[in-house]
């Protein structure tokens, strides 16, 4: 065999590997999308047949009794997530403002690092935290304890997006405001924050959507409740927890309702985060 022949086959081999591997990467990406389609497809398919107006407006019925819905869980989820937002928003915004405007020091670095640490804490550990700190001391399950757990989980996301969005505001705006004689706090409150408001809002909504589906922290805090309850100091039903209870039950009609609940929950979470991305920045932070 001649040398050029060798070179030709070697080149052909390299080209073949090239196309082969490009194909493999495309296949992997397709597989990831197929996984998403499989999960969402089943949820939409099985969930849709469980949906009707009663499902949204009525309370759960006992096993075997037809009808019934998850009205209490929908309201409960809004209460718990609302409490979480009330808790996390001021702290997250304040911490984000600190990091961006005054945080160019060691304390700022420490807080940044700890926010990262906090975002890696498993949700079940957050549940234990809220349980020992609040539930065990008050000796009853409640919505605020769950709101606390979810709020702590939202904190890192809100803090870091606030910081990142405020950092994107050009320094010339700050300098302009200061040159006009505004004190620093007015510069931040009236110039920097409003300029970044849209991005911050997107981040906050994404954080809310993320924790709205969390179940593990609710197990030992809201505990779940098959009845109507808006008293935040009682056990309360939530969408993820109701879904979990229905899913692991041995009853067919409850399992059907689990799919319906899953559809409602997934739709709420996905639509919220899609809208936030659409109306916020073109590219969201993961």
């Amino acid at each position: 065999m001649s040398k050029t022949g060798d070179r030709d086959t070697a080149y052909a081999r390299r080209k073949l590997i090239n196309y082969l591997m490009i194909g493999v990467t495309a296949l992997s990406a397709t597989l990831a999308v197929v996984a998403l389609a499989a999960v969402l497809g089943y949820v939409a398919l099985n969930g849709f047949s469980a949906l009707n107006t009663d499902f949204f407006l009525h309370l759960p019925t006992p096993v075997g009794v037809a009808g019934g819905g998850i009205a209490n869980a929908i309201v409960g989820s809004f209460i718990v997530v609302g409490l979480a937002t009330l808790f996390a928003l001021p702290i997250g915004l304040g911490a984000g403002i600190y990091l961006s405007e005054f945080g160019d020091n060691r304390f700022g670095d420490l807080v940044r690092y700890l926010a990262d640490v906090l975002s890696g804490v498993p949700s079940i550990v957050m549940g234990i935290f809220a349980y020992t700190l609040i539930v065990a001391r008050q000796r009853h399950f409640s919505a605020p304890s769950a709101g606390f757990a979810l709020g702590v989980m939202m904190l890192p996301a809100i803090t870091r997006t606030t910081e990142e969005m405020l950092c994107l505001v050009p320094d010339s705006l700050r300098e302009g405001a200061l040159a006009l004689g505004l004190p620093r706090w007015r510069t931040t409150v009236s110039v920097v924050v409003p300029t970044a408001a849209r991005g911050v809002l997107t981040g906050v909504v994404l954080a809310i959507a993320r924790v709205a589906g969390e179940t593990a922290p609710l197990l030992f805090t809201t505990f779940g409740n098959p009845f109507w309850n808006v008293d935040i100091n009682q056990p309360i039903a939530t969408l993820p927890h109701t879904l979990f209870t229905y899913a692991i039950s041995p009853y067919d009609d409850w399992r059907a309702k689990a799919w319906g609940t899953a559809l409602v929950l997934a739709a709420l979470v996905l639509v919220t985060s899609l809208l936030a991305r659409r109306f916020g920045r073109p590219r969201g932070v993961a």
Binding site: N18, M21, I22, V24, T25, A26, L27, S28, A29, A32, V33, L36, A38, V39, V43, I91, L93, G94, A95, Y98, F102, V111, R112, L114, D116, L118, V121, P122, S123, I124, V125, G127, I128, T132, V152, T159, E163, P183, R184, W185, R186, T188, A209, A212, G213, T215, A216, L219, L243, F244, A247, I248, A258, W259, A262, L265, A266, L270, S273, A286
Partner: protein, 321 residues
């Protein structure tokens, strides 16, 4: 314009001119310090809650095999084994897939395809874990029991990996669910790492006559390796801490078995299942101690991941410098 004398000569009892700044900065500092305080409180609560278990068993029980709370026997080894095996196997599945997908997204996909694909993969990350669990329980597990499980057992049953009766729920189901769940995280972080590779690296390699794949595999990927490894660590951290989906599909049996079809247990699912059923203080305390262990492990993994990802640069660290 003339300045009033009052503006120049300030007296000691005057309020500082920048009072608003002092208050505002103090408030922001306080909020930042709250994060610090919350972490400290978290660690303290976990420690205080597990004091009873620590005093009685220390960390020895982590290596004991029997988990029988009725007789106060708390051997956490099966749960630790389950956590380690399920997350490592999930990483073994999702790691290569995620890396290849990220290569496709960052290097190869045409722009019109890249944006919607990225969005879809990020959507995978925002589906609640309990929804994955539901899917795993009612769609994945039946498939694993009948066609997949039995055919594996019939053909490869001589291997201890496939020798047991496939129940559907079990270690394998947990591995697959975890792999699907951590795939988007790995893909997103690795993609960002690949994107941060300067273009002249690619151009130089292409100019030397390398094919596209050779450019990617020999230059771009090695250049981005700390970001990629960081993404893998982050995914592993997620898998270790994941609770609901795993609890729903792993079968929750505290036994160590080589067979992939057998039910198993993880630290997180053990806590989720038994915490509300723990009837005496020592039991609760041991469960909290397991939470402390879980916290420690994920802390370590995340710290490593952050260290590697931040080396990629382009993030906040660079802007601050």
């Amino acid at each position: 314009m003339t300045l009033s004398p009052r503006a120049i000569t300030r007296r000691a009892w005057d309020l500082p001119r920048n009072l608003g700044d002092v208050i505002f900065r103090g408030w922001a500092w306080l909020m930042a310090a709250t994060i610090l305080a919350l972490i400290a409180l978290l660690v303290y609560e976990l420690y205080a809650g597990s004091r009873l278990g620590l005093a009685r068993y220390g960390f020895r029980f982590l290596l004991d095999q029997t988990w029988d709370p009725v007789f106060e026997e708390f051997g956490a080894l099966p749960a630790i084994y389950g956590t380690v095996v399920s997350s490592l196997l999930a990483l073994a599945v999702a790691g290569p897939l995620g890396l290849l997908s990220s290569i496709f997204l960052a290097e190869l996909a045409p722009r019109w395809l890249e944006a919607p694909l990225s969005l879809l993969i990020e959507l995978l990350a925002s589906i609640p874990s309990v929804v994955y669990g539901l899917w795993g329980l009612f769609v994945l597990a039946p498939i694993l029991r009948q066609p997949v499980g039995s055919s594996f057992r019939n053909t490869l049953g001589f291997l201890s990996l496939f020798s047991c009766i496939p129940l559907g729920i079990g270690m394998l189901a947990a591995v697959i669910i975890l792999a699907i769940m951590i795939l988007p995280y790995i893909t997103a972080v690795a993609r960002d790492g690949l994107r941060a590779v300067p273009n002249d690296q690619r151009e130089a390699m292409l100019a030397l006559g390398a094919t596209r794949w050779e450019t990617i595999w020999r230059v771009v990927v090695p250049y981005a390796r700390s970001g990629i490894i960081g993404g893998l660590m982050l995914g592993l951290g997620r898998a270790v801490g994941e609770t609901m989906a795993v609890t729903m599909v792993i079968g929750n049996r505290p036994e160590i078995s080589a067979c992939l079809f057998n039910p198993a247990y993880t630290l997180a699912s053990l806590i989720a299942n038994e915490f509300t059923e723990a009837t005496y203080d020592l039991y609760v305390s041991v469960l909290i101690e397991l939470g402390l262990v879980l916290f420690g492990v994920t802390l370590l993994l995340n710290a490593l991941a952050r260290l590697l990802v931040s080396r990629v640069g382009g993030g906040l660290e660079e802007r601050q410098a």
